[in-house]
Structure formats: structure tokens, C-alpha cells
């Protein structure tokens, strides 16, 4: 697993200049150490051959090489990621009494985790299976990837038995496909199960199992001595769902309330105890009791969403050999209450204090911190009476100062405080009609949303737009229910621009961040043009779907009530993929120069948006609160360079504090892909105190 990688570092002239005892002939320059090292490590010559080439004695070469190590010209290092995998494997093996454990690096290369685990398990099979084995295999993406990667020949009398009946053919990784591929790849006989995995009733199952062919096949299944399986979570995208095991999620909830994962089409709870459920008597395939009696039980699974299920399988003793990746392995250990240790202490303990000295209490202009939100709103209202005014004297509910336009769709925005000038800066003509404010980073309650709804509505219905957060969704939904009960038509659009918060295939669960800026602007213009509720909703959804953001943080923020940093970060670190609530990002990376940081975000946004030559975007470079304009402009400069190099036109560009996270030092970059309609609405006049366009 662990390879040695010698690295040469040029130190030309050093040996000579510091009067080092070893000197070589001049034809090697002043640095015989470097040459000897090069010939030894890079060219692969023996010390004897090097002695001959360099016309020195063999002991001299030996001394050169030793000195090169001592001077740091040659560094021998073992790939830390591999070493870490090794140490995690050891810990997992001990913790869960496994016969063997293989852990591949958690991140690496372009291939999917399924494929990488497939290759790793295919290699592991070479020492796990032997002539005469009867091998059961389940199904799924990992199993198929493994079967496709296996290259084993020379074994005799192997049988591969399908461990369950068949599933829907809508997936490529059916039990039949997995068993057949594996059998072909290792030269085994394949024994299928000629029945579906799930049948419509226990009676049909009994009939089918009594059929001679099926009975014989199940007999083969009962005789297997090894089984290879994966573990499925019960998440909507999991194999157990895509394989058509459940007709509806209702069935899972009702019959499998305590189930946490599934293996071989059966269900287990968090302790690994079988959860029979309504499908149990309708399932054809190996039972969990039978599975546990198979001497070698090889589980291949990775991905953090599988950790609870995999942990349950380990606890239930369904696994003797585990093949996983280091991220999942670490997660398993942590979930079981063990802090994973790293190979060489290279990785800092997550709770270890950072090397850099930080003040524990952040200075702020505050009175009683509990009054911070209210006092801040009072100050904003005092500054911009022409734009915003409190509804019924409540500063937490703010309406546009100008009178409502009859027949116009009302636009209500809002969320927690701490994002100023979001949301109240976007209240005004051509923008929102009202905005509702909660506590710092906490959703406002529904009664306030309802008050804003009343203020915004003039009979044409009301549009709610806010960021996609659990608390906001619940409070605004409750308000929408109340509004509907009063006969007010309400449509809700959640902003979901933050690409770091969920992968593209799950884009609807992304959170809303600075992309709010573009969505509010476009929606406000649509409402201002007196489009009906359907029209406003359509355009707003389109704007949201076209808007993509990603944030970087250099320092955490601090809440008024705690005045402590929301997380710790080292002086050479940055958080990548941060949101707007002071939380850590998707990953922590080394701090890089501004252009590289901008590139990091640009690359992701370009990929995500599929930006091509001829594309048109609107750009927002936004401070998260603590980063000054000067630095925002530096980022903006680089982003323009990148887009220009790609042939993408930046039609409109904004730089500044538009959607912040209190005093977090960092920036977010938002792009909205434009067509004529969106650009036209972006250019429509508007007047909020944080955004003015046109006359």
C-alpha cells in the first residue's frame, strides 16, 4: 500500500559553499550530492554503477547519499493519505473484530467512489477467494463496479450465486448483472435465482420457492462459503429505492420506522437487529440469519450517507471483511465514539487549539447584545425613511415606504438578522414590498410573516422568496397556510444558489446565499411590471435556477451574544464553500493568493453552469462582512479575466456588501446566467437602499 517517493531538491553549490567535507569532480558541478542522489533515486543505478560513472569510490557514493539525506536534498516521504488509510484500517479491524479491513484513500482521482471501491474490492478478491469457493453476491452500483474490475484467473471449481431474486430492470446494476459479470470475470459457474426479489404476497413466495428450479437455486445459495455485499442507506437516492423495493416512501416510514439500512434486500436497525417489516414475508433471497452464518462476509461500501447503515451492519456482526474509504472509515470510528488517529500525527486533532494566538472575545459596538437586532433595525429605519417603514410600529416587520400599487403581486422576503443589508436593503420600488426579520441567523415566526403578507398584498397574490433553510421553510409555510385560509394566494420560491452545500443532482436542497440579490431583483422587476402571480413565479424560478454562488472564508464571524469566533481556523487556512451563518464550509484548504482563490471558485462555477464561449452572465462579488472593497476588487479583477478568457461576457457587475454573515472575513462570488429576459429585468429601474438601478 505505502510507496516510498524520494524527492530531490536542488541545492546546487551548497556543499561547496558551506565547506562540506564531500567534494566531487567538477564535471558534476559543485553538487555531487545532487548528482549521486539523482542517479540513485531517479535513474535507478546501483551505488557501484554510480561510483563508476562519477569516478569515485563506492564508499564515497554511500557518503554522498547519506549526506544528501542529512542535508534535505533528498526527502523520503510516504504518501500521508495512504498511511492514514492504513491506520484507519487497523483501527476499524480492532474496533469491530474484523478478519480483514481494506481502506482506500477517501479522495482521489476522477473516478466515482463506487468505481474506486469496486477496483479495491476486485483486488482484495484475489486473496480472499480460492478454488472451490461458492460465492454469493448481492447487487448495486458498488457490486457492479467490482464485478467489472475483477481480473482473476487460474482458480478452479468456483460458483457464483445470486444472493437475492431479481429487481427492476430499470437499473444497470441488477442482481443478475452483478452475478453474471463476476462469474464471467473469475471463470465461475453462475447460479441465478429465477424469481423476483420481491413478490406480491407470502403465498406467491411459498409457491415460487417450492418450484423445483428455484428450490435448487436456493439450495446453492444455502451452501455458499463467502458472500460479497454492499450496504444501502434508506435515503431516497439509495439502491434500495432505485431498485424498486418500495412503492412509496410511506411504506418505509410505516413498516420500517426503526430501520436504518439494508443489506441483501433486508433491513436492520441501528444495533444491527433485523427489522422484519411488511416486505419480509415477500422477499426471496438470503435471510439475515443465513447471511450471518456464511464464514466470509465481505462488505464493500463507502460514502458518508452510508455510515449509519454500515455501522449497524458492523454492530450486527454481518461483516468479517470490510472494504471502504478513509472518509467513511473515519466516520464509522467517530460514530462509534473513537477519535481516529492519524498515521504520523500529520493531521491536527480537530479540537486542538490552533497555533495562532486568537483573542477569545471580539470587540463590537453593542449595548445589551439581546437588543442588537432591534436597535440595528431602528437605526436602519432612521437612516432610510424614504425606503422603509415599520408595519404597525414593529421594527421586525418592514414595508416599503411608498404606497402599494393596486393589482401588483406583493413580494415578501426575509429571514434571520445578521446578513445586512439583506433583506431590508432590497425593499422598495422594483424590489420587495415587505421584509420580515428574525433573530440573528434564526427564522422569524409566522405571525410576523403574515403581517408582512397583509402589508404586501393588494389582491393579486403574494410571492414569498427566502433562502432554503429548515427553520425558514417551516415558519414561512405556516404563514402561507394562514394567508391561504384568509384567501390570499401565496407562492413560495426558495433560493438555492450555493453550489457547495449540495451536489448538482440534489440541487433543490442547496441553501440560499448571496444569490438572493439577483433573485430578489428579477422578481421585484417582474412584480413591478404587473405580471400576474403565475408570471412572477415563473420568472423568479427561472432566475433562481440561473443563479450560482460559492463562498470562501478567511476568518469566522462572532455572534453578538457570544462575541466569540464561531469556529477556529489556522493562519494558513481558508474555509471553502461557506454559507452565510458563520458555519464552517464544505472543506478546509490551504490559504492561497487572491487569484488562485478566485480561480478555485470560478472553476466550480464554470463547471456547474456549463459556461461556454458566447455565454452571458451577471456577476456579484460580495463581502461576507469583514472583507474590504479593496480585496473584493482584486477578486473581481481576476474573475473578469477568467470569464473574458473563456469568451463569456459579463453584462452587469456588482461589488460590495450585499449579503453578509455578520463580521465574517470572506467573500462569495455569484453568477447569474443571462438571457434577454433576465437581463431586461435586471436592468429595470429599482430603488432599495442597498440597490438602485436606473432612474
Amino acid at each position: 500500500m505505502s510507496g516510498s517517493t524520494p524527492r530531490l531538491r536542488s541545492a546546487a553549490g551548497r556543499a561547496a559553499m558551506d565547506g562540506s567535507p564531500v567534494r566531487g569532480p567538477l564535471r558534476y558541478g559543485d553538487d555531487p550530492l545532487l548528482w549521486a542522489s539523482w542517479l540513485y533515486y531517479e535513474e535507478g543505478l546501483t551505488q557501484g554503477e554510480i561510483a563508476e560513472t562519477m569516478k569515485v569510490s563506492r564508499p564515497t557514493v554511500n557518503a554522498y547519499l547519506a549526506e544528501a539525506r542529512a542535508q534535505g536534498i533528498v526527502n523520503i516521504s510516504i504518501d500521508g493519505e495512504r498511511l492514514r488509510s492504513l491506520s484507519i484500517a487497523k483501527q476499524l479491524q480492532e474496533r469491530f473484530a474484523l478478519a480483514e479491513c481494506v481502506v482506500i484513500p477517501g479522495a482521489g482521482g476522477e473516478r466515482s467512489l463506487y468505481d474506486r471501491l469496486g477496483v479495491a474490492s476486485a483486488q482484495a478478491l484475489a486473496w480472499l477467494i480460492h478454488s472451490g469457493d461458492r460465492i454469493g453476491i448481492t447487487w448495486g452500483r458498488t457490486m457492479l463496479a467490482m464485478a467489472n474490475a475483477v481480473r482473476i484467473s487460474g482458480l478452479k471449481d468456483l460458483r457464483v450465486v445470486q444472493a437475492t431474486g431479481g429487481t427492476t430492470a430499470h437499473i444497470p446494476y441488477t442482481p443478475e448483472a452483478c452475478a453474471t459479470r463476476l462469474a464471467d470475470a473469475i471463470g465461475a459457474r453462475c447460479i441465478p435465482i429465477s424469481a423476483p426479489a420481491i413478490v406480491s404476497s407470502p403465498e406467491i413466495r411459498a409457491l415460487l420457492r417450492a418450484e423445483e428450479v428455484v428450490a435448487e437455486q436456493l439450495g446453492e445459495l444455502a451452501a455458499i462459503n463467502r458472500i460479497i455485499f454492499s450496504v444501502s442507506s434508506l435515503r431516497p437516492s439509495s439502491t434500495i429505492h432505485t431498485s424498486g423495493f418500495f412503492d412509496s416512501t410511506l411504506q418505509v416510514r410505516e413498516g420500517y420506522r426503526t430501520a436504518i439500512g439494508s443489506l441483501a434486500g433486508r433491513f436492520i436497525d441501528a444495533h444491527g437487529v433485523p427489522v422484519p417489516g411488511p416486505l419480509e414475508e415477500r422477499t426471496i433471497g438470503i435471510s439475515l440469519d443465513e447471511l450471518r452464518k456464511v464464514p466470509t462476509r465481505i462488505a464493500v461500501a463507502g460514502g458518508t450517507e452510508k455510515i449509519p447503515a454500515l455501522l449497524a451492519a458492523l454492530r450486527g456482526d454481518y461483516v468479517t471483511v470490510l472494504i471502504t474509504d478513509s472518509t467513511t472509515g473515519e466516520g464509522l470510528l467517530r460514530a462509534d465514539g473513537v477519535e481516529p488517529t492519524s498515521g504520523m500525527g500529520a493531521r491536527r486533532h480537530p479540537d486542538a487549539p490552533p497555533a495562532v494566538e486568537t483573542r477569545s472575545r471580539i470587540k463590537k459596538f453593542l449595548n445589551d447584545p439581546r437588543d442588537a437586532v432591534t436597535e440595528s433595525l431602528e437605526g436602519a429605519l432612521a437612516a432610510y425613511p424614504g425606503f422603509i417603514t415599520p408595519i404597525d410600529g414593529n421594527v421586525r416587520t418592514i414595508a416599503a415606504s411608498r404606497p402599494r400599487v393596486p393589482g401588483k403581486v406583493g413580494l415578501v422576503i426575509g429571514g434571520g438578522a445578521g446578513h445586512e443589508p439583506c433583506f431590508l436593503g432590497y425593499v422598495g420600488r422594483g424590489l420587495a414590498d415587505a421584509c420580515v426579520v428574525g433573530n440573528v441567523f434564526a427564522s422569524p415566526p409566522p405571525d410576523r410573516v403574515l403581517a408582512c403578507t397583509h402589508a404586501a398584498q393588494t389582491g393579486a397574490g403574494v410571492l414569498y422568496i427566502y433562502g432554503n433553510y429548515t427553520g425558514d421553510v417551516m415558519n414561512f409555510d405556516m404563514a402561507a397556510e394562514m394567508a391561504k385560509a384568509e384567501g390570499i394566494g401565496v407562492r413560495t420560491i426558495l433560493t438555492t444558489d450555493d453550489i457547495a452545500s449540495s451536489p448538482a443532482e440534489d440541487h433543490t436542497s442547496r441553501r440560499g446565499t448571496a444569490g438572493n440579490f439577483f433573485v430578489f431583483k428579477v422578481a421585484g422587476a417582474a412584480c413591478d411590471r404587473m405580471l400576474d402571480l403565475d408570471g412572477c413565479e415563473r420568472i423568479t424560478r427561472k432566475a433562481n435556477a440561473a443563479t450560482f454562488s460559492m463562498g470562501l472564508a478567511l476568518e469566522p464571524c462572532s455572534l453578538p451574544e457570544t462575541r466569540r469566533p464561531s469556529f477556529r481556523i489556522g493562519e494558513d487556512d481558508m474555509e471553502v464553500g461557506v454559507g452565510i451563518h458563520g458555519e464552517p464550509g464544505a472543506s478546509r484548504e490551504r490559504l492561497v493568493p487572491a487569484d488562485r482563490a478566485a480561480d478555485r471558485v470560478c472553476d466550480r462555477l464554470i463547471d456547474e453552469m456549463g459556461l461556454k464561449e458566447g455565454g452571458r452572465v451577471a456577476l456579484l462579488v460580495n463581502s461576507l462582512g469583514g472583507t474590504p472593497m479593496m480585496e473584493l476588487f482584486i477578486l473581481n479583477r481576476r474573475i473578469h479575466q477568467r470569464l473574458s478568457a473563456r469568451g463569456v461576457t459579463v453584462e452587469r457587475s456588482w461589488v460590495g456588501h450585499y449579503c453578509t454573515s455578520l463580521d465574517m472575513v470572506g467573500a462569495s462570488i455569484t453568477m447569474m446566467a443571462l438571457d434577454d429576459e433576465l437581463l431586461d429585468l435586471l436592468d429595470a429601474p429599482c430603488e432599495g437602499f442597498a440597490l438602485r438601478v436606473g432612474g
Binding site: 416510514r253 426503526t258 441501528a270 449509519p308 462509534d336 415566526p445 429548515t470 415558519n475 405556516m478 452545500s501
Partner: protein, 221 residues
């Protein structure tokens, strides 16, 4: 037969408020690790508001359904955030139960727990294993229903529910959050208790405590 009536609910909410106040800091700290750190504050403040409502003399005369509707409104208006709608929905669902069953004997505890759990589940749309308060409420409900099915007394139903809730809360350590703000942390949420499940188990422990001791005489509550 002893009833799950308004005086019972008033005593319950007072006990819950005290219990949550005692654990305010702990819940905030748990939330700080995976969320935004306000859970203890929101829960303690919310139930304190409900407890204050219960102390008003006019409240005692209310039918349980009316009291629970007021409690839901008070809780929500005070809290907002994420737990506001969840517990307000629980209380409203319980109110609906009392609409059809104005008199609820203590032995029917499971029905009340069912209503509370349903309210939370319908509003939060979380699944079991999502590392939320439901991971305490659902096992508690199952345990109470099972005990009820076996003919257990109310005290034993409540104890079974409290134990199951405590176990359920502990089990959230092995789960990855997939709802709420903690969901963005992905595997960083492993090894941490879910604060919502912990506070739920505190609430269920109050049920167990109250039902274990005989009801106080009139005027004592």
C-alpha cells in the same frame, strides 16, 4: 380515573420548562457543535412562555384543546427559529386529538404522544435516522404503544417511553444530520448528539416523572 386534563398539562409544561432551563447551556453547547447554537435558548424560552401561560388563573378553566392552541401560539410567537414551528405543530395536533377526545384517561398516554409526534413529523418532514428530535419521539411512541398493548399502567408506559427516548437520543451520535443546518456539515456531524433529540428526551422524562407520582390533590397543582 385520572385524566390527561388541563391541570395535568399545566404541571407537565411547568416541569418541562424547569428541566429545559436546567439544561439550557448544555443544549446550546450541543447545538453550537453542529448548528447555530440557539437550541437551548429557544427551547427554554419557548416552554417558559407556555409555563407562564399555564400559571394564569383563567387558563386553568380552559378545556385541554383550547389551552393547547394558546400554548402553540405562545410558543411559536416567542421562538420562531426551527423548534418554534415543530413544537407548535405538536401542540396543535394534540389540540386536535382533544377535539375528538375531550376526556383522555392517563392510560391513553400513547394517543397524546402519537399526536405530538405526528405534529412534529408532519411539519419537519424528517425521516427516522435523520438525526433530529424525531429520533427520540418515534422510539418513545413505539415503546408507549407497545406497553399500552401489553396492558401496562400509564406510569409504566411513560417510563418505557422515556427510556426509549433516551436511547434514541443517544443513538443520534451515530447518525449524520440530513435535516436542518447541521445537514450541511455532512460527516462532520458524526459523534455528536442531536440537541433536538436530547431536549425531546428531557420532555419525555417529565411525562415519566409526573405519571410515576400520584396526582396531587385539588389546589395543589
Amino acid at each position: 380515573m385520572e385524566q390527561l386534563d388541563t391541570p395535568f398539562l399545566i404541571r407537565l409544561f411547568r416541569a418541562v420548562a424547569l428541566q429545559l432551563e436546567e439544561h439550557r447551556e448544555q443544549l446550546c453547547a450541543l447545538d453550537g457543535e453542529i448548528g447555530d447554537g440557539d437550541h437551548g435558548t429557544s427551547m427554554a424560552n419557548g416552554f417558559a412562555a407556555v409555563a407562564r401561560l399555564g400559571q394564569r388563573p383563567e387558563t386553568r378553566a380552559l378545556a385541554p384543546a383550547a389551552f393547547l392552541r394558546q400554548a402553540a401560539s405562545v410558543f411559536l410567537g416567542d421562538v420562531g427559529a426551527t423548534v418554534g414551528p415543530l413544537y407548535a405543530s405538536a401542540l396543535l395536533q394534540a389540540a386536535k386529538l382533544y377535539d375528538t377526545r375531550p376526556d383522555l384517561p392517563v392510560e391513553e398516554l400513547a394517543l397524546l404522544l402519537q399526536a405530538l409526534t405526528d405534529g412534529i413529523a408532519a411539519r419537519g418532514k424528517a425521516d427516522p435516522g435523520d438525526k433530529t428530535m424525531l429520533d427520540a419521539w418515534l422510539p418513545a411512541l413505539s415503546a408507549a404503544q407497545q406497553a399500552r398493548g401489553e396492558g401496562a399502567l400509564a406510569a409504566d408506559q411513560a417510563r418505557a417511553a422515556a427510556i426509549a427516548a433516551e436511547e434514541g437520543a443517544q443513538a443520534t451520535i451515530t447518525m449524520i444530520a440530513s435535516r436542518g443546518r447541521a445537514a450541511r456539515l455532512n460527516e462532520r456531524s458524526l459523534g455528536k448528539l442531536d440537541p433536538g433529540a436530547v431536549s425531546a428526551s428531557l420532555i419525555l422524562s417529565c411525562f415519566a416523572e409526573l405519571l410515576a407520582s400520584p396526582a396531587p390533590g385539588p389546589g395543589e397543582a
